[in-house]
Symmetry: C2
Subunit: 220 residues, 2 copies
DNA sequence: TCGCGCGTTTTGTGATCACAATCCCCCCAT
DNA sequence: ATGGGGGGATTGTGATCACAAAACGCGCGA
């Protein structure tokens, strides 16, 4: 394999270095439940898939492992994490702690345009629920939350929540199967109503409930 | 440089791979304020210092950068982060959100032995304050908090708080200079009192105050 | 004296290689 | 049929190299 000029496969504007492309791609897969808990990955396999050598593959994997998105055995073997019930509960508690705060910080800046955008995303969520598409549902559901939290202007806090999502990613799809589809949308509607009303306590509660609801099912 | 047998410089039991040693060492320095904001590092420099090649140095640096402990410019230049006031405020808010929760979770498990250990650590904190040793103070102060939070049995939450500490590390020492030394200890004593009394609301408040107090000074 | 090019040096990136540890699978003995 | 052992294949680790881009410094010109 030869060092190609930097413009080889890049489509639009600066896509970033090789290891970043690999990182983003893997991260997205993991966060959206496209990788099963316990599934194994290899550096050479990743490298081959993305057309790069082991070096950027290794950096991506190490970074994801540092963020808890992947597990490395003592011998260095790479797998998607299979979370214990305790760990899931803890991560759920983190979401319940952080996300209402982010929502509350976003509230004063939530104009009508944002609420409309959220409604549109929520419509797409409904489609995926109807189509029983777990990955699509996870993706749009997280997009709903992220779109709201982006308004909080709190990048470090958002990054932290996304790390939690990442850790929960592989487990999420399994979780989706058990979830009661009908009241999925109810919580999002409560969030939208509280946003429109400018009611912070209601918003905090709605977000906390939405976050907690789905995750507590796994433990039960 | 030659690949040495794995048992080369290892003292006790498995110290971990080369990049992990480098990572732990750098992380400790950063978290305890031994690196100034804006200070530059180089992969070859790190490698030379630890007697390893660029590869493990690079992995350590990338990992630390992913955790926000180091900044990488678009050209890949490595520096310790120089935080904006907004960012500091946000990280302080994260501490104020997470640490009371960890303390509250530790409370039911906080036996007398733990409180005694905390008192002992607190005494060492006082020594460093008296000696005007900023790094020593930072180290023992964080040890005080970590010892308490370890009892919460919440590894993911603790990891998250430590990431916040890490990001604040380089800025912390500058902060220390402005801090009113006399009421530093007051808050720790309040924490100990609330722990001994088993009073959760008081504990949450004491932790939140301790955390907030020092950090709000930078913004002012 | 100050600013600005240009060449040298430094620095990060990615590929490749040697190596040791581990895993996997197949075969054989019981 | 089943369990254990052994050998080949796979895998992560770290060193080294080539390369391009950025940084630095030095000297020349205004």
């Amino acid at each position: 394999m030869v060092t190609l000029p930097r413009t080889a496969g890049e489509i639009g504007s600066a896509t970033g270095s090789a290891h970043e492309q690999v990182y983003r791609s893997l991260r997205s897969r993991i966060m959206h439940g496209e990788i099963d808990p316990g599934e194994a990955l290899t550096l050479r396999g990743i490298g081959k898939e993305f057309g790069v050598s082991m070096t950027p593959a290794r950096e991506s994997v190490r970074r994801l492992a540092a963020e808890g998105a992947l597990t490395m055995s003592s011998s260095g073997r790479i797998t998607a994490p299979d979370l214990s019930a305790d760990r899931i509960e803890e991560l759920a508690a983190l979401r319940a702690l952080l996300e209402p705060e982010l929502a509350a910080r976003a509230l004063p800046r939530a104009h009508l345009a944002l609420i409309d955008r959220l409604r549109a995303i929520n419509a797409r969520v409904s489609e995926f629920v109807a189509k029983q598409d777990a990955v699509g549902y996870l993706r749009t559901n997280l997009e709903f939350h992220r779109t709201l939290y982006l308004r909080a202007q709190a990048p470090a806090m958002l990054a932290m929540v996304e790390t939690v999502w990442l850790q929960l990613g592989p487990t999420m799809r399994a979780l989706y199967a058990r979830r009661n589809r009908t009241d999925l949308q109810k919580h999002h509607r409560m969030i939208l109503a509280a946003l429109a009303a400018g009611d912070e306590p209601a918003l905090r509660l709605a977000v906390r409930t939405d976050v907690t609801q789905g995750l507590k099912m796994l433990v039960a």
